[in-house]
């Protein structure tokens, strides 16, 4: 699943470590998410959306890229 965590994070001037601390995961998990190697759970996706001050999950994660 594609996402724009990196862009939104840079726009908000938040470091990977700060975002990781905010959503209670490791920095490596944020790196994996940014590279699209790992798909987060719904709970983590909500937390990241909130931490990046976005209204909807779709603003952060590209749900169209998921094959159904």
């Amino acid at each position: 699943m594609k996402n724009n965590i990196a862009e939104l994070r840079k726009k908000s001037k938040i470091t990977q470590q700060k975002l990781a601390d905010e959503v209670k995961v490791t920095r490596q998990t944020i790196i994996s998410l940014e590279f699209g190697r790992y798909n987060p759970s719904l709970e983590l996706a909500y937390k990241i959306t909130k931490a990046l001050k976005q209204k909807h999950i779709e603003d952060v994660f590209d749900l169209k890229s998921i094959e159904i």
Binding site: K24, V25, T26, Q28, T29, S32, R37, Y38, P40, S41, L44
Partner: protein, 135 residues
């Protein structure tokens, strides 16, 4: 339940297990049960040794204040590593059966089990570390 409470509960369990091992070791040594075992003069002395090592590890873990985060990706990777280890055990058992059919393996059961357990732990750790890097 907070992480601190979970750690405390785990430590109590580990301390209890270590104490049981030491007591069992003392009883076995006192009753002279079990001969030479894994380089130790008796099973009892080996159990006492393992018990004390366990006590030391748990105490060191309790003393270190390092904050550990276990997130969902780590749990996901741990499940994958466990699956790989399980498949590894099955493959290893098959290979052992084939080798034993060709040429009978003569090794003490205690040695075999200790090698097997060390191998399982090593395989799990290696696969966990590799998966953690690439997932």
């Amino acid at each position: 339940m907070t992480q601190k409470h979970i750690n405390k509960k785990n430590s109590v369990w580990r301390y209890s297990l270590a104490t049981i091992l030491i007591i069992a070791g003392i009883i076995l040594s006192y009753l002279n049960i079990g001969t030479e075992f894994l380089g130790f003069p008796s099973v009892g002395s080996w159990l006492i040794y393992v018990g004390f090592i366990m006590l030391a590890i748990v105490t060191l873990q309790l003393m270190s204040n390092k904050k550990r985060i276990v997130d969902e990706r780590m749990q996901f990777v741990a499940t994958k590593a466990a699956r790989i280890t399980f498949i590894g055990i099955i493959l290893f058992a098959f290979v052992i059966m084939v080798i034993d059919g060709i040429k009978p393996i003569n090794i003490a059961y205690s040695y075999f089990m200790s090698y097997l357990i060390c191998g399982i732990i090593l395989l799990y750790l290696v696969s966990y570390k590799i998966l953690l890097r690439f997932n």
